[in-house]
Symmetry: C2
Amino acid sequence: MRQVVMHAPGDVRVEQRDTPAILKPTDAVIRVAAACVCGSDLWPYRGIEAVNGPTPMGHEYVGVVEQVGTEVRDITPGQFVIGSFFTSDNTCEICQAGYQSRCPHLEFIVDESGGAQAEYLRVPWADGTLIATPELPDADLIPSLLAASDVLGTGWFGAVAAQAGPGKTVAVVGDGAVGLLAVLAAKQLGAERIIAMSRHADRQKLALEFGATDIVTERGDAGVTKIKELTGGYGAHSVIEAVGTQESMMQAINSTRPGGHVGYVGVAHGVTLPGTELFFSGVHLHGGPAPVRRFLPELIDLILKREINPGKVFDLELGLDEAAAGYQAMDERRAIKALLRP
Amino acid sequence: MRQVVMHAPGDVRVEQRDTPAILKPTDAVIRVAAACVCGSDLWPYRGIEAVNGPTPMGHEYVGVVEQVGTEVRDITPGQFVIGSFFTSDNTCEICQAGYQSRCPHLEFIVDESGGAQAEYLRVPWADGTLIATPELPDADLIPSLLAASDVLGTGWFGAVAAQAGPGKTVAVVGDGAVGLLAVLAAKQLGAERIIAMSRHADRQKLALEFGATDIVTERGDAGVTKIKELTGGYGAHSVIEAVGTQESMMQAINSTRPGGHVGYVGVAHGVTLPGTELFFSGVHLHGGPAPVRRFLPELIDLILKREINPGKVFDLELGLDEAAAGYQAMDERRAIKALLRP
């Protein structure tokens, strides 16, 4: 089968690999209907994260089940499924508390033999990781269902972790797909005011479409000052951090009022939080890898009812063979997010 | 009047100072009935925090109102009052949300002219900072009411921030007065299991009296391993950090299960939190200077009804003139907490 492989920063190729097979009785193998390039794929693409030899890529996926292992009960061949980038048994205490992304049976969906930017994908712990739709979805819903696999689920978790809701002013740091979908999530959760922090016209436009009420173009300390100006000097009740740098984390913490909530979902790179500053900020801090599985049933339902359209973040659609062009367009910020069709 | 003054690390003296007067119409002046030495007073005493010239000491107090300013409405001379170390207007959005310790009208109760380890104390924002008891309390309740002024309020906030409650396993890092009273708070809040981390027999004994169900003597990584052993490998649901060092913060974070809550109330000294480790921990983090004022009405009520006895943390009682001996006893861990009678 064809599989996207990163060889080095900036060097992404499509190669022939063995089609994955069932390795454990709890596995499923799916035929990928659509995959995509993630903002986190850009960390190694830009050389900020090491690339240790040829690495299969892709951790966001929707597809049709081809085969299941002998212990898989709920997922059956022929079903259309959506799953998360981390596997989960969905039965342990941690999963039952809604933290499937920290399940003791966690495996990253990508390993040395394959990832989701491919024709086929092996999914361990299929019953606890995948959700099947009641029937094959309409083709135009596939981008939105694909978004639920990671960026929507992650933005949603950020909004929930930041306790976005009625009466709240929410600020979003980061205008990538996750930040934009955090805006959508805050809107769905009933936030009163949603401030998107963005300096790119195309992203501002989508943020407003998703429910943003204000746009702030300033960053860092100037961004914090602006958020305070807009919130009676106090700061926002809820701030979602969707970047993962030192600057963005401090911007998020300092934009939050005392007693407010920071939901941080940008994968931390080189971040260290100063204890004294954090102590006196008085904020709540929660985040990490999103437990997408917790939110999937609700998100899929909203998509199938056409109440939300998160698929709008895909402003570039390519065949799998053109994956390198997708990485390049996102790296150069010509595209918000690239969808790949195998 | 007599006032405790720190001149340098290890050098605490009782000196004559001017009796404080009303400076602003929102002030009150109280005659201090009892004050005490705080664990945080030991930071400068031990030379870990700088002492910049002679510094009046003491931020925990109960007393009788002597005078009030012209704009004070709720507090009147002759009342017995308890207040917090930080002043608050108790009317702004931040106070109304329960974060009085971050009120825009915050002032530290200690300034260059005086502190609470003295005969008299000026309290700014008296209406928003002080709570009066319905009548003069019985003398034997004074230590407990004094504890409410800081260490009980702080331990309680730690337990609330860690979401201690029914069905929860709570671990407490730190066996000073705040840690011990966090045990008491967790018990009152209905926690199922309370693990006190302590290696001192006298403090273990008090922890058990306050409601601890388990004692763990290990620290650092060994302490984390022990907490995981006691919690099915997952970690505690709720962990209260009541020390403020790098080791204690990491011990608290790593002892908490994914999705669990860390309530941190030890004043951070030299702490930096590693972003990646925090991200993948999946914990909730909340803390800072306790909004004691939020909890005072409830805590005073529990004390007056004799349902809790937090005054037990005072295992040394001295006259104000003997303050230096109180600091020394706490520094050498011969006393948990020293009460001073002016």
